[in-house]
Symmetry: C2
Subunit: 341 residues, 2 copies
């Protein structure tokens, strides 16, 4: 980790003036953002030449609390989260934008740690942070820092990965165990002492998708299991794709620490957020090879269920079987855990 070029003893905190378009703002842009992302990441439009073909475009704002959590921070999350959204469309991530909303009083050392973490994450994913923006709001009108990233990726010719591609008989694979991100955040936030220390599963998923495509597999649908967890992802796919899905609880891996915390707190791990897990829906023909590839990256990757048929209804589309008893896996009304991403 390199030292922040902005003298932290003179500027320990973000001031409103850091967002005003004057000298202080110029200094912040140069000595924090340009220093981390490279001087190319101008604060106006960046011009680039994409490869031929279709592009994927996505955006996410990140408001996670706390800013720094076991296994990651808002900076890495803001890169991996958007890279993962691109990967879920089958796209190779090319570049990101980064928009910061800073609260007056934010520690400049914290900001520096976050932007360095973003830059490391971007390097790991092979994407450039091409363009950015910074705003400052008064104390009590924000919460430290919010980050928006938008991402552009290149989509292989003719590839369409979408719930509308899902067919009866397709197999639902999960790329690893569930619930680490949500529970790690909750534990950090509430000062819960878990028996086994737990880290977020935060990780980029573009490599896994590249491996699948490289092996000649065409996933019908991919979905990262963030807000609302596996249950919400399955419901959304089932509704959009007009299909019914049944999963087997005993095939879904949940580590002891997550399981214990969920029991204690009355949470269902199937609804808890992850930031480095996805589901992969493939034809039965390709499912074994796909599972093998997932397991090379994570031993807990598993075949979680199947698409049982088509449906015209909008409700009751997803079921989970536990010890021979099948029950509805519905959407929750609201949230289990606010601000986990």
């Amino acid at each position: 980790m390199i030292a922040c070029p902005l003298p932290l003893d003179r500027y320990p905190q973000i001031l409103l003036a850091h967002g005003g378009g004057g000298k202080l703002m110029g200094q912040l842009l140069k000595e924090v953002f340009d220093a981390a992302f490279g001087a190319g990441a101008g604060h106006d439009a960046a011009v680039f030449s994409p490869p031929d073909g279709a592009l994927a475009f996505t955006t996410d704002s990140y408001v996670v609390h706390p800013l720094i959590f076991p296994g990651g921070d808002i900076g890495a999350l803001s890169v991996y989260g958007t890279v993962n959204d691109l990967a879920m469309a089958g796209a190779r991530p090319l570049c990101l934008s980064a928009g910061f909303i800073l609260e007056e009083g934010l520690s400049v050392a914290t900001l520096w740690q976050i932007v360095q973490s973003m830059q490391s994450a971007a390097q790991i994913c092979g994407v450039k942070i091409l363009t950015g923006d910074t705003k400052v709001v008064e104390r009590g009108k924000g919460d430290g820092v919010f980050i928006n990233t938008a991402g552009i990726g290149s989509v292989p010719r003719g590839l369409r990965i979408h719930p509308d591609q899902v067919e009866a008989g397709d197999v639902v694979l999960i790329s690893g165990d569930l619930g680490r991100h949500g529970i790690a955040l909750l534990a950090a936030r509430e000062g819960l002492e878990l028996e086994t220390p737990l880290e977020s599963d935060l990780a980029p998923l573009h490599g896994l998708v590249a491996d699948l495509l490289q092996a000649g597999i065409t996933p019908h649908c991919l979905r990262d299991l963030t807000r609302g967890g596996l249950a919400s992802a399955l419901n959304e796919i089932a509704e959009t794709g007009g299909v019914k899905i049944a999963v087997e609880a005993e095939n879904i891996s949940v580590c002891e620490a997550v399981d214990g915390a969920c029991e204690l707190l009355g949470l269902d791990p199937l609804y808890v957020a992850n930031e480095g897990r996805c589901l992969v829906i493939v034809s039965p023909r390709e499912s074994e090879k796909a599972l093998e590839i997932l397991q090379q990256r994570h031993p807990q990757a598993a075949r979680a269920g199947v698409v049982t048929g088509r449906s015209e209804q909008k409700r009751g589309l997803v079921t989970v079987n536990r010890g021979g008893v099948s029950r509805l896996l519905d959407l929750l009304s609201g949230e289990q855990l606010p601000r986990i991403c």
Copy 2:
């Protein structure tokens, strides 16, 4: 203005649960965002086919206060602001992303007004809002709504509009009178009674740029005059381009209401933000034709000054002449007016 499909009597305010990934969030996405932007504006990656050639990519977060102001609102601002950033790179705007950070307790009617205004603005600019995201933060951790938009535009082959293209002898044109946005906001915020009611100059600038390019003019540099106003834009260009610039105060138009308010408040209109004005730096050969095109859109468009030479220094690059006396037009240290965009 069409009615909001979300029943406002049952859901008058945004709840934390609207950001949780469950049913309430699904309803918000469908009955507010999809209803305004069209169902295509999915909340995952959107896939599109850009025209051949280079693309421009930009982002801005909008934290303007108040959310609705004379002459506009945060919704229209979030579209025109980003469209203008693309236009300043000579790009034809293609599509936008939209990321919302909502504060718990926000009036759903206000949100509906804002997203409708975004959609109107997008239609005026011929851009699509392709992809979006919504987060909700607790009361007191945000300020109503913050919006991030990122934009993608198509850059004509071989065109480079950048401070490094600016040459000694180039002419600096301004597209209209200055200071309306900043003063209109300040007046609205502080309850100032101006003699003449004043509206923001908020407007898209892509049409003006298209007119210039259509007429065969190649601007060396374009810059919208937002945070920090004309003075900051000139300083940034002078520093990046390594040139000296001199402007004539008497050529720069400021309306009576802005002039009066600035005098009263001790502000210099050359530092006040605009949201529908830009500067155009062109070769002397093309300057008259360019000015004519600007004046077709705004009678107060004017030749404000010239690029007097190259410079290796980083300071004292921009001067303003008032009645024969030339003084430095330096960057301010901080901000005159916080949260004007």
